[in-house]
């Protein structure tokens, strides 16, 4: 299980391939992955840059708690969460969540659970830099 905050750009599929080497091959049958990326527009505006603020200490603690919760709720072999911080550019990866399990149901459910918990409760805040002003994103879209 690994939770990491990254102040620099990261390549999610490289991270995944690399982290996966630490998991016993032949043990997992299902891997579910979610990658959130920065789009170059939001609510009708071009976004130039984004600032990702977080709460040092609490953010890591919160992400570790949901990763542990997922491990105890489902029969998972491993969980990886990487989240970007600081200044982010369009098309950069913001978040990577991956879970490894024996079967697909657990993998799908746990990855979605982690993303919903992260989106609704993990202490991160986005400030968007538009052409002529900046603004805080006010809330995340609900799970629906």
């Amino acid at each position: 299980m690994l939770v990491e905050l990254r102040p620099e750009p990261f390549e999610p599929y490289h991270e995944l391939a690399s982290y996966q080497e630490s998991i016993a091959a032949g043990q997992y049958g299902a891997t579910a992955v979610f990658v959130g990326s920065m789009r170059e527009f939001n609510e009708g505006d071009q976004v130039q840059k984004m600032w990702l603020e977080y709460y040092p200490g609490m953010t890591e603690k919160y992400l570790e708690s949901i990763a542990s919760e997922a491990m105890s709720k489902w029969d998972l072999l491993d969980v990886l969460i990487i989240h970007r911080t600081g200044e982010v550019s369009p098309s950069d990866s913001i978040v990577l969540v991956a879970v490894w399990s024996g079967h697909r149901a657990a993998a799908f459910e746990a990855s979605r659970y982690l993303m919903e918990e992260l989106k609704s409760r993990a202490p991160f805040w986005k400030k968007e830099q538009l052409d002529h002003k900046s603004r805080w994103v006010e809330h995340n879209t609900p799970a629906k």
Partner: protein, 80 residues
């Protein structure tokens, strides 16, 4: 003495609105998180949806505080 104070932190838009990210307050007649807000913001109205944490765990406004605690206030989160 730091054990008779509470460290208060504000994040994101709340930090910008209040003009600071961190203050230290004395614990005199401060019993709950709501009291911490009052003391640390000079009685400003708390925005709806403000989230609160004590020692990096989510709590409600009625939660009791103690000297040495770290209390944080922040707007709805927008990560991921």
């Amino acid at each position: 003495m730091s054990s008779q104070t509470i460290q208060v932190r504000f994040f994101a838009s709340l930090r910008e609105q209040l003009g600071h990210g961190e203050v230290e307050i004395s614990t005199d007649s401060v019993e709950t998180i709501a009291d911490v807000w009052q003391r640390s913001t000079d009685g400003k109205q708390m925005p709806v949806n403000t989230l609160m944490a004590i020692n990096m765990e989510y709590v409600e406004a009625s939660h009791p505080v103690q000297p040495g605690d770290e209390v944080a206030f922040f707007p709805p989160v927008t990560g991921g």
